[in-house]
Amino acid sequence: MIVEKSNLQSEALETVVIRFVGDSGDGMQLTGTQFTDTSAMFGNDIATFPNYPSEIRAPQGSLFGVSGFQVHIGSVEVSTPGDNLDLLVAMNPASLKTNLYALKPGHTIIVDTDAFNRKNLEKAQYKTNPLEDDTLNNYRVVKVDMTSLTKEALKDIEGLDNKTITRSKNMFALGMVYWMYGRTTEHTIDFFKKKFRKEPHLIDVNTKVLKAGYHFAETLEFIPNAYSVSPAKMPSGTYRVIMGNTATAWGFLAAAEKSGLELFLGSYPITPATDILHELVKHKHFGVKAFQAEDEIAGISSAIGAAFAGDLAITTTSGPGLALKGEALGLAIMMELPIVVVNVQRGGPSTGLPTKTEQSDLFQAMYGRNGESPAIVIAASTPANCFDFAFQAAKLALEHMTPVILLTDGYIANGSAPWKIQSIEDLPEIKNNLVKEGDDNWSPYIRNEQTLARNWAIPGTTGLEHRIGGLEKDSITGNVSHAPENHEIMTKVRAEKVKRVQDVIPEIKTEFATTGDLLVVGWGGTYGSLHSAVKQMNHEGYKNIGLAHFNYINPLPKNIGDLLTKFKKIVVCELNNGQFVNILRMHFTGIEFLQYNKIQGLPFGNSELMEAFKKLIK
């Protein structure tokens, strides 16, 4: 172990960005999650970004088999996982090679020197060992023979195979990082106790290694305990760390309880949406009916059937699945049934980049169906507010009797953040359009005058037997009608019904500035990146730049026309080739919209955004 003795004093930092990288089998996701949870309990604000290969077991040591977990912790608000790293923990050469670019010059790398053998170096396409040449000259390198130290720590436990030993070396790294940031190991040890209840020897193994790493860092005071990120100031309340997909699932649990309806999920597994299915299948104790269907079409179809029968019905998927659901979604629009379709977006088209994030399904959500078929489209913008928007999607569907598409994306779905827990009693009421009786003239197409939502009479209700379907219906009787004027009336009613949602959604507010030189516009999962870039510029003295971030896309909030005219320039930032910008262009013809787009399967970085914005206001 060679570390130049540092003259750094214990540094109090506002935020720190750490990335744990290694082979897919090295347990980096678990390491990252543990560090995240411990930090959240310590009171830090956090944002995370897991980044893993789409192969389940990529060849060991290969460049494409690298798995990483980035976490940003702060004593102030953090809204992104951060772009440049303060600390890189690299468990093998391949992970060093693919991640070094992100480390800030002069900052620290912890490596497992044992993994830098000939074989691994070759697989990482290193001609010479980067620990020995000048590759790392600009960084502070902490070389630890982690595999050997792990073995050493476990030498008293008999009967351990090599695999178990090497697989626990990630806990050695975690222990070291805990010490560096003044964290304790308790939370993780509790975690072992739960996780390995059925294999108690693993509790012992992992605890030993974790503590060994911790004490190693402590004893060899080469590593300055330099970074003390104190707790952040957050609104008071009870918190927990939540992943976006879990928050989405829980938002629907909350909506079901609040509306008094049973929750039905029809779904077919697809990355990165599957975790919502995984979460909801657990909750049979709440009466959740989660149905893993034979394909996405059956997923939405079963949801339509459940909605007809009176459940709060949802279906969850990602881009390719939404494509399959298109026809059935049109049916739900035609039958005016309340369903929610969640699309956790990923890179496309086709199979695209299954594990990477993108915002390229907006047009599909808006227009990807035959005929005039408007749907309500909303988008969550942070891991934690996936909860709010899932709840809101259910509320809008039930109150307006029409399908709602909720867009999230791989970035916020897999990211985690502190969530101030919302109790059911603090959530808004959810009404519905259920009817129990009707007179002789009753028809399923009797509408609420305000919202235009139709009556919802469910099987089992005496006297309200009726038939609905995909054929156009007479606007009054609800019977099949091919009458020309009737089709036009019905088409407009369905559109108007969606438009009237404007009356109940909040107006959009600009942040940081209400007038000025540049308005940054975004929607959905890019909120954290855009917010943090504009905020930083604001700190730097650019008081002339504002941010308008959209969660409601169809319909748009009422007041945006006014807001857009208050800035000299408008730039619409999206992780696609320009979709929302064209929706805005369509609505606001006189206004010029500039674009900033990124289509790399990755979120926006802070510096690239700031650079782009600065150019625009020069």
């Binding site: 309880e257 079409i297 059937g305 038939r467």
Partner: protein, 339 residues
């Protein structure tokens, strides 16, 4: 199983006629099926408001519009999936699917096999006219090789499915086949399907007078019917023929037609139909048989339904869970306070 409770025979078939004018071609067997259904419903002892008909697209899929219960006319091929959602949402409903050969086995093939595999308590009426009716006469997955249709002017080259074989292969617990010109037998089979717990599939050999007229007449027309069809009944010998003198025996793992009274064959040699047998081997042989064509309830094996299995798991989970309200979950585990 549906609540058979205290609904006395207060309904007549008229109670199940909707106010919609029926629009099938005159002479179409679909009328026979519709009327059989309307007449069978009062016999089932189920309340009108507890019945749901779901269909896909096709002539046959217009069915729900004509019955005064709850109903949905949906999209091509998806009715089994939609009906599954209805039934899982509310297992106390009597849920029916009306589908065509194209709807069920071409575009909807996937849903069709999976619904049978899962054994949800639904009843599926398959209107098999060996043609696409609504789109005006293209060959379907049950059209015969050589059949001339609008999309096979020189004769169909695609070998067909035998729906019964497909269904049994997919795990169907109940499968019946019935001629479209026997309203009484159709009605009886509908009632049996209703009482059966699990997915019940009824294939009706339905004549399309316009695009495939007479496709079954060589077996179903009045004069040949008794000689060409066998009507199977559980527990009864497999006997058919105008003179009730033909029967089925097993010979070298094959079904063989014999004549009672010839070669020393007596009634005692004839196979007894066991529809309730778990092993579908004999049922498969029966559905494949070309002469005589087997009709009646070929298979009716009692098994747990998906809803029953789900209910059991849910009961266990509820008994062992500390969660009753969402708040219990939200505030459980690793939470922390910020002041």
């Amino acid at each position: 199983m549906i609540m058979e409770t205290a609904v006395e025979n207060k309904y007549t078939y008229k109670d199940f006629e909707s106010d919609q004018e029926v629009r099938w071609c005159p002479g179409c067997d679909d009328y026979v099926i519709l009327r059989s259904m309307q007449k069978a419903l009062p016999e089932m002892g189920v309340k009108k408001e507890d019945v749901v008909f779901v269909s896909g697209i096709g002539c046959s899929s217009r069915f729900p519009y004509y019955i005064d219960t709850y109903g949905m006319h949906t999209i091509h091929g998806r009715a089994p999936a939609i009906a599954s959602g209805v039934k899982l949402a509310n297992p106390s409903l009597s849920v029916w699917v009306a589908t065509g050969d194209g709807d069920a086995m071409a575009i909807g093939g996937n849903h069709f096999i999976h619904v049978l595999r899962r054994n949800i308590d639904l009843n599926i009426i398959l209107f098999n006219n060996e043609i696409y009716g609504l789109t005006k006469g293209q060959f379907s997955p049950t059209s015969t090789v050589g059949q001339k249709t609008k999309s096979s002017p020189y004769g169909n080259t695609q070998p067909p499915f035998n729906p019964g074989e497909l269904a049994l292969g997919a795990g169907a617990r109940f499968y019946g086949r019935i001629s479209g010109n026997s309203p009484k037998d159709i009605g009886q089979m509908l009632i049996e399907a209703h009482h059966f717990k699990g997915t019940a599939l009824i294939e009706v050999l339905q004549n399309c007078v316009i695009f495939n007229d007479g496709c079954y007449s060589n077996v179903t027309s009045k004069d040949v019917k008794e000689d060409k069809l066998i009507y199977l009944e559980h527990g009864k010998p497999m006997i058919f023929g105008k003179d009730r003198d033909k029967g089925l025996v097993l010979n070298n793992l094959k079904l063989e037609v014999v004549t009672i009274g010839e070669n020393g064959i007596t009634e005692a040699d004839i196979l007894i139909h066991d529809a309730k047998e778990k092993d579908p081997t004999m049922h498969q042989m029966l559905v494949r048989l070309e002469y005589p064509l087997s009709t009646g309830i070929i298979r009716s094996y009692n098994d747990l339904t998906l809803e029953e299995r789900e209910a059991e798991v849910t009961k266990q989970v509820k008994a062992n869970s500390k969660f009753t309200k969402a708040d219990d979950l939200f505030f459980s585990g690793e939470t922390y306070k910020v002041d």
